[in-house]
């Protein structure tokens, strides 16, 4: 098991959000976490990424406990977190943002390879190399966010709302790029509100409601589940 979350409890200050959340992701798997607004999907990712320290429970990555570690240490273990708002460095150029993504990579050759890989995945970014990240459109920012996360050659990606604020066509593009990554052997845990699309592309899914895992199983099965169909798909 690459990532294993056991009985996780987390929240902000007095606000207790996640209760007893357990989930796991195998190497090479494409897993989604879906659920209504305010269910705690983003909180789950932030807790795994170390940006929030858990109240209880454990997060194991690659056989080692990582819960309670600071965010930068989790990032150095090989978990790349892509937040909803991207958290780009808006006064740096696209190129500088990508170089910052490789902050933990000491090997110049590897850095070069990763840069080439990202530019091959998102050719639009190469054309805008010297543009400031803050002046780019939503879709390009999303690509840059994913590209920056890929620069450190992560073992796993945590993606929060890849379709957030994007036009449908651009959403397709972003999902296509995640697909490419899976085909190349990557591991992804994605959080989404667009349940139909997500269950369509992922291997396995978890349904989070009111801070608890309500359902889990292969995505195709979840898409057929009466509860999911009623609550999220509107049928």
């Amino acid at each position: 098991m690459l990532l294993e979350v056991k009985n996780l409890d987390a929240g902000y200050g007095f606000l207790h959000i996640l209760r007893n959340v357990s989930l796991s992701v195998e190497k090479g798997e494409y897993v989604c976490l879906v659920g209504p607004n305010g269910a705690g999907k983003s909180t789950t990712l932030k807790t795994i990424a170390g940006l929030i320290s858990p109240i209880g429970g454990e997060v194991c990555f690659d056989g080692e406990t990582i819960s309670g570690l600071a965010g930068y240490k989790v990032a150095r273990r090989g978990i790349a977190y892509i937040s909803e708002e991207m958290n780009l460095f808006s006064n740096m150029t696209v190129h500088e943002n990508l170089l910052m993504g490789a902050y933990t990579v000491r090997d110049k050759q590897l850095e070069k390879n990763r840069l080439a890989f990202v530019y091959a995945l998102f050719p639009q970014l190469e054309g805008r190399k010297n543009q400031l990240a803050g002046t780019m459109s939503g879709g390009e920012r999303k690509m840059l966010g994913i590209g920056r996360a890929l620069m450190c050659n992560p073992k796993m990606l945590l993606v929060d709302e890849p379709s957030f604020g994007l036009a449908p066509l651009l959403t397709e593009d972003v999902f296509d790029s995640l697909d490419t990554l899976i085909k190349e052997g990557g591991t992804i845990l994605v959080v989404e509100q667009n349940v139909t699309k997500t269950l369509d592309v992922t291997d396995r899914g978890y349904v989070l409601e009111h801070g608890r895992i309500e359902l889990e199983g292969p995505s195709a099965e979840l898409a057929r589940d009466p509860h999911v169909r009623k609550a999220f798909l509107g049928v």
Binding site: A75, Y81, N91, M92, M100, G101, Y103, C152
Partner: protein, 342 residues
């Protein structure tokens, strides 16, 4: 290619920042023609050191969101360290003259001041800001500001308690005839102080632009969460920022020891001046602080020249009020998204 650059240059000049800078240069040149070139020389020497102070202030505000009001005290620590390093060396030199050492002695003192300033910066971050940050980040700007005022009071009185209130100054660092530049005699100390400030600013700029650590500092100032996401250790960067900022103030204090002898509240004047600069330039804007420093220096020199030396605080303060009313982001705007705007 060239037309593109010209177009870009033209657009920059047409912006508020461009107009102000061009205006400042024109005023400087005109007043030098009418009153004598010493105006430019004075502006440039004062501006260089002011820039060192302001860079540190802008950096700490940009990276840590701390409104630093103890910055003048690191200037004081720098001048004190330089004094106590330079005097023994000078005494030794009096007994056994040595040309190379007497050229190097001031540099050694300034280096010692940098190290001492940086050390005090690390201590203040580790002992004070780190603990406040760990306890609570609510109302951070106000709380950290009050802490800096506290640090300032502590250091000023600490100086008074340990070293007394008398002026601890030197006549000059470098002996020798003054240099003659554009028919103005400029003392060697002023000349070297300016060269030193240009060198340090240049090195600092290179560090911020071209090195991995420098980029990390900029990254933290632009997005703290994003910086953590790419694996930057925030607390390390915060310690480094504080050390750099206070070290630069120490350099300024040490290189101006011949003008400002060290005494407990010597840092107040440079502190106010550098605050003028970063309000003018935009809080947290490091490059703007360099340009702004020269503009404030020019303003100060011109006020003394045309109105009288008692007015050199009044005119900049009045200008700061106007800026805060009409252009609160400063004329260069700001690169940083501080907690104030979140």
């Amino acid at each position: 290619m060239i037309t593109e650059y010209l177009k870009k240059l033209y657009e920059t000049i047409r912006s508020v920042a461009g107009i102000t800078v061009v205006l400042a240069i024109v005023v400087a040149i005109l007043s030098s023609i009418f009153r004598g070139p010493y105006i430019i020389v004075n502006t440039v020497v004062t501006g260089g050191m002011l820039a060192l102070m302001s860079i540190g202030l802008a950096l700490v505000f940009g990276v840590m969101n701390v409104a630093q009001f103890a910055h003048g005290e690191y200037f004081m620590i720098g001048s004190l360290t330089a004094y106590y390093t330079f005097i023994p060396i000078e005494r030794y030199l009096g007994a056994n003259p040595n040309a190379a050492l007497s050229f190097l002695a001031p540099l050694v003192s300034i280096l010692a001041a940098f190290c001492m300033g940086a050390l005090m910066g690390v201590l203040s971050e580790k002992l004070i800001f780190y603990n406040l940050r760990k306890r609570s980040r609510t109302n951070w700007v106000m709380n950290s500001f009050l802490l800096t005022v506290g640090i300032s009071v502590l250091l000023v009185n600490g100086h008074q308690l340990i070293f007394g209130t008398e002026l601890k100054g030197i006549v000059r660092y470098w002996t020798g005839r003054p240099f003659c530049i554009m028919d103005v005699f400029v003392s060697r100390d002023r000349c070297y102080a300016f060269i030193l400030s240009v060198l340090v600013i240049g090195l600092f700029w290179l560090f911020m632009k071209a090195t991995r650590t420098g980029r990390a500092i900029r990254a933290v100032s632009q997005d703290e969460t994003g910086a953590q996401m790419v694996g930057i250790d925030l607390s390390g960067i915060q310690v480094l920022t504080m050390a750099l900022s206070c070290g630069l103030a120490g350099i300024a204090g040490a290189s101006l020891l011949f003008m400002f002898p060290s005494y407990p509240s010597v840092g107040l004047d440079p502190l106010y001046m550098s605050w003028f600069v970063i309000i003018l330039a935009g809080m947290g804007n490091v490059l703007g602080a360099v340009v702004g420093a020269f503009m404030v220096a020019l303003l100060k020199v011109l006020t003394m020249e045309y109105i009288g030396s008692g007015w050199d605080f009044v005119v900049p303060t009045a200008l700061i009020m106007l800026i805060l009313i009409f252009k609160p982001n400063g004329i260069f705007g700001s690169d940083v998204r501080g907690v104030l705007e979140q």
